[in-house]
């Protein structure tokens, strides 16, 4: 069996036609993961211990089970206790919540890098808890972790083919249908790979660029910390 250019050109638009659906699902799930991830971060730091502990348990549980199993759980198992979603919502929620556990870890690392003195200054200026988070801490915690956040967008994008398991017509599902109808899989599946490459590669370049920029920012904070330590040494 050899590569059939005519067949490839003929089916390309059919497979590529799923592009808006794939992008939509990726962005939808990503927004869920950004927002829910932040909520998880706050909940984990809550001074109400049962909430902090339950959140920790939830994060560990979600991370240590495969997304495909979670997808089946949401789409096939939840309806039996009266909670049902259409396949798109189920897909977006599952991927979004799965990745929110990773995003919450990214947020956490950014937050822990903010010096303790910033929290204390915020208190001394009498900011409320909310003002402290949104005016003082997050604006310093997030920029250094933007590249990491971008990476998870790519990883999430590459995870969308699992949604074919519940019949979402993304790239792989389309290719699989075409392959089955024509008994030819080489071209459609190759096209799927190509589409992922075409979309991922430019995004990866963009993220790389962001990373270089934020490293420069990070260097200046590192320098500040180093200088502070030198002062301490001089003093002591």
């Amino acid at each position: 069996m050899t590569w059939d250019w005519n067949f490839a050109i003929e089916v390309f638009p059919e497979i590529a036609g799923a592009i808006w659906l794939v992008i939509g699902i990726t962005l939808g799930a990503y927004i869920v993961s950004l927002v829910f991830g932040l909520a998880l971060t706050f909940a984990r730091r809550s001074s109400f211990k049962p909430l902090a502990l339950a959140t920790y348990g939830f994060i560990e549980f979600v991370r240590s089970t495969p997304p495909l199993v979670q997808l089946f759980f949401v789409f096939f198992a939840l309806p039996s206790i009266g909670i049902s979603f259409d396949k798109y919502t189920a897909g977006i929620l599952t991927l979004g919540i799965h990745y929110s556990t990773y995003l919450s870890e990214v947020y956490r690392s950014g937050i822990e890098a903010v010096p303790k003195g910033q929290w204390e200054a915020a208190k001394a200026m009498n900011f409320s808890k909310m003002q402290t988070w949104f005016k003082v801490i997050l604006p310093q915690a997030l920029p250094p972790v933007i590249p990491m956040m971008g990476n998870y967008l790519l990883v999430l994008f590459k995870e969308t083919p699992i949604l074919m398991a519940i019949g979402v017509g993304e790239f792989l599902q389309e290719a699989q249908l075409i392959g089955a109808a024509n008994f030819k899989y080489l071209e459609p599946i190759t096209i799927v790979g190509l589409l992922f490459l075409l979309l991922s590669y430019p995004s990866a370049l963009l993220i790389n660029k962001l990373e270089k920029r934020s490293k420069r920012g990070f260097r200046s904070t590192k320098k500040a910390v180093k200088e502070m330590n030198e002062f301490e040494e001089l003093k002591g």
Partner: protein, 270 residues
């Protein structure tokens, strides 16, 4: 409360702004403060001196509500800081709402400035007046510019903290605290992180401020000449206890306790 008691209480709160009553603090097994009693009058400038590790920073951090006392009562304007009177009149631990209300009378300048690095100098100084005090943008800006000019930084409004020298940063930090108009300002060794040639400019700013303000100040410092110039009273802390206190004259020139004498002589030698 009877009429006479009430009268006494209000007189008391007039003559005392901050009161520490038998305050102790432990970090784990170490007792850092061993029963501190200290009264500060409205407008009074108090310098806190003592060897490293004697608990000076801890004393003022407890007033800023950054550290919770292990026992004892700290009050501000006659009202307990870390406690609230419950409906039955008993003192119960304060909630965040109470702490936040009390904090509005207290300001602090830190050793390492702790400016907000992502905000311009102007925003560092206007952010809290706008969002905490509820001033209009114009009012806040006016107050901030006025204060920044006073500390000699009227031309740095749009700069960012990383573009300033240590001395300039610390002057911004002072302006940032003063615009909130607290009743008491806390200074924790605000010049000890500075290059020696920048210390003077910051001390000058504080001296000027002390002269013209009716805010009370508690100044932790190792600069004895500065303490003499600025303070109404010097408190010497040793090993978690107040060992001696008095006017600058009494404390610096006629120290009575041996420990204070030793501390001062070590100081003058260095």
């Amino acid at each position: 409360m009877g009429a006479i008691e009430k009268d006494l209480a209000s007189k008391d709160s007039l003559s005392t702004l901050v009161r520490y009553e038998n305050v102790t603090k432990r970090f784990g097994d170490i007792e850092v403060l061993k029963g501190v009693d200290l009264d500060i009058k409205p407008g009074e400038k108090v310098a806190l001196i003592g060897p490293s590790g004697s608990g000076k920073t801890t004393i003022i951090r407890m007033l800023m509500t950054l550290e919770k006392p292990t026992s004892g009562v700290i009050s501000m304007g006659g009202e307990p800081l870390w406690h609230k009177k419950s409906s039955s009149g008993k003192l119960v631990p304060a909630d965040e709402k109470h702490l936040r209300r009390m904090r509005s009378d207290i300001g602090m300048v830190f050793q390492h400035f702790n400016l907000f690095p992502h905000m311009s100098i102007l925003r560092n100084v206007t952010e809290a007046p706008i969002h905490v005090l509820g001033l209009s943008k114009e009012e806040a800006r006016e107050r901030a510019v006025d204060m920044l000019e006073k500390v000699g930084l009227g031309d740095k409004l749009d700069a960012y903290p990383e573009q300033l020298s240590g001395g300039q940063k610390q002057r911004v930090a002072i302006a940032r605290a003063v615009v909130m108009r607290p009743k008491v300002m806390l200074f924790d060794e605000v010049t000890s992180a500075l290059d020696p040639e920048l210390v003077g400019e910051v001390l000058e700013v504080i001296k000027d401020l002390a002269k013209e303000t009716d805010m009370a100040m508690i100044l932790v410092t190792h600069e004895m000449d500065f303490a003499r110039d600025v303070a109404d009273r010097i408190v010497f802390l040793h090993d978690g206890q107040i060992e001696e206190q008095g006017t600058p004259q009494e404390v610096l020139e006629n120290p009575s306790s041996e420990r204070l004498q030793a501390f001062l002589s070590r100081f003058l030698r260095n």
